[in-house]
């Protein structure tokens, strides 16, 4: 009997420990999230304040405005007034340095209340108030429908190019015995590390002077049709993990290399292919350097990210409008990330870069 009792007891304390441990781990991670994303809370809160709310130095941190009341057709600002028996929110009717007259918003019929003291020392009463006027002002300065269309077009054309070409190249590297293939792959890895600045000047001159691509989307999309080294690396690694026996079986059935790629390799690589597709989408959406180099002379072709940045540097500049710009600029990628979180970068195991 005693043995049973003890084991019951220890099981109970074990359960308590388990519960406490679980609670602590979850609490810790959620606290971490709050700290990590803290600057974003500033962005969201500030974008919902209008200019007056934002500049009011006494206002609370959350979007709020001064409480007002109407008394005999006049609008009064409500202050917290200390009276006998605690402080009350009262509407200021007549301000004075020595004594001021107030009206009780709850009971205006009670008449005028006179308070002795300097009204400037009183604190206004604030109430929670979201303001969306920033967003309408921001959007009226841009052409959101056109920009959305442009950004989507640039992202999706590039997406098509980078996926087709990177899948092709990764398939070539993972399934064929190519003379010197090992060295070609090392070269590919090396190109991942090449700084953009070294290729910038010659490619700029090639696009603008030789190909006359200035003011078109071509410099933003054409290079993606020649595969991306880092995507090739990720895809090749995934393709190599698919057993070769499947290819060989299909080959005996008379399937050619393209058939094998489409009907055997790709269906088994959906998570990696979608990860690569999402990575490119995030890149294309945020891309600004090429957009500002080549789309400066073509306002009708500008992308969302580029226009938001230009708009802010010319018209915005006030912190609350900057926050609106930031929120608008990040909303599309964040939305896509959350919608696709089931597919994004799940089980991407890297087993070696050189091999």
């Amino acid at each position: 009997m005693t043995i049973f009792k003890r084991s019951d007891h220890s099981r109970l304390s074990l359960q308590t420990w388990e519960f406490t441990g679980t609670a602590l781990v979850n609490l810790f991670v959620w606290l971490l999230v709050v700290v990590y994303l803290f600057p974003l809370s500033y962005m969201v809160v500030t974008s919902l304040k209008n200019r007056e709310q934002f500049l009011d130095p006494n206002a609370p941190l959350y979007p709020a405005e001064r409480m007002r009341m109407t008394y005999q057709g006049r609008e009064l600002i409500v202050y917290q007034v200390p009276l006998q028996g605690g402080s009350h929110p009262l509407g200021l009717l007549k301000a004075g340095r020595v004594s001021s007259q107030f009206v009780d918003p709850e009971n205006p019929e009670a008449g005028i209340i006179t308070w002795e003291g300097n009204w400037r020392l009183l604190r206004a009463v604030y109430q929670f108030k979201l303001s969306t006027s920033n967003f309408s002002e921001f959007m009226s300065g841009l052409d959101p429908a056109l920009l959305l269309k442009n950004s989507l077009a640039v992202a999706l054309i590039g997406e098509f190019g980078v996926l087709c070409s990177s899948i092709m190249v990764a398939y070539g590297f993972s399934r064929f015995r190519i003379p010197g293939g090992k060295y070609l792959f090392l070269l590919l890895i090396a190109t991942i590390i090449i700084p953009d600045s070294i290729t910038l000047i010659p490619t700029y001159f090639m696009y603008v002077r030789i190909l006359d691509w200035n003011g078109t989307w071509l410099p933003l999309v054409v290079p993606h049709f020649f595969s991306s080294a880092i995507f090739v690396f990720l895809l090749r690694q995934n393709f190599k993990s698919i057993p070769k026996e499947l290819d060989e079986a299909a080959m005996l059935d008379g399937a050619g290399p393209v058939r094998i790629l489409v009907s055997i390799i790709l269906p088994q690589s959906i998570p990696t292919v979608s990860t690569v597709a999402l990575l490119h989408f995030f890149y294309a959406w945020n891309e600004i350097r090429n957009a500002s180099l080549y789309l400066g002379i073509a306002p009708q072709l500008r992308t969302f990210a580029f226009s938001v940045q230009t708009f802010q540097s010319f018209f915005g500049g006030t912190p609350e409008m900057l926050q609106v710009g930031a929120l608008v600029a990040m909303s599309a990628p964040v939305l896509v990330l959350f919608l696709a979180q089931r597919l994004f970068m799940q089980d991407m195991v890297i087993t070696g870069m050189e091999k």
Binding site: F28, V29, Y36, L37, P39, L40, Y42, P57, M168, Y171, G172, F173, S174, R175, F176, I178, L184, L187, L188, A190, T191, I192, I193, I194, P195, S197, I198, T199, L200, I201, P202, P223, F225, F226, A229, P257, L279, F282, Y283, N286, E287, I288, L293, Q312, P319, L322, G325, A326, L327, M330, P333, V334, Q341, M345, I350, T351, G352, M353, E354, K355
Partner: protein, 307 residues
Amino acid sequence: MTASHPRPSRQQQEGYIGLLFLLPWILGFLLFKAGPILAALGFSLTDFKMLSPESTRFIGLENYIRLIGDSNAGAGIFGSIGYFITTVPLQLAVALALAAIFTSDRLKNRRFLRTLFFMPSIISATAIFFVMIGLADPRTGWINKLFLEPLGLPPMQSLFSAMGFTILLMVMALWSIGPGFLILLSAMQAIPQEIYEAARVDGAGPVLRFVSITLPMISPAIFFTLVVNLTGVFGGAVLLDRGYLFSQSLSPMESYITSMMFDEGELGYASTLAWAMFVVTMSITIALFRSARKWVYFPEEERHDDL
């Protein structure tokens, strides 16, 4: 296995088909990498100017001599290396710690939480910059209101003070850990549980298990994360490129090159600077790859894979 078979024609055929599949990359490499890099080497030997390209002259190594005496270039290169040395280990440590926490079964809503931690990595540099300008605003920003004022510290004047810029760099670095975090997490989750069980039976505690099992087993992922972060610092093709800050980068050397290009219009000298940066980046990368042979664990089957 087929290598010993005397079937050259079939193998040749396979090689040709394979090369056909590599064609997009080979063409892209020649057109957008090798060609421009060599062209930049050519430009670096001239006094090529943005506004007067027709009067370009060959000036030999003059730009390289100027580079040696240019204290801005030195500061830029050492600034970039310093940025690498300070941010990359920090990013790696935070990503590792976060990934280790996420391997715990006790954590609920893991998919949602990992997306939350990943999210800042896809915010454009411009948006982060806007947020930080607001946060650091001397009158209305929350850094002064919530932290410095209550603590009785002197208020920060703007984002462009030394302190403001340090905060911006830290936020940028910590908000870029997303891809590294997920790659390390996937690697940790792929470690067979039996290894941990065996170590636990042998009496290894959690710290010892982490150091002697987790770290070696995920070393390829650590190496990959390092390479990705390295390219991020030196302005290469990062896994997740968040765009540029008003066509400027946070990397000091890259900012200097960009300003030489677009503000000064000295394309010849900018090409020289870019080449210097290229050489430095490549040296660090080669050193990193050399060191990988000592500390990165390659599974047996990978080592004998001759492809």
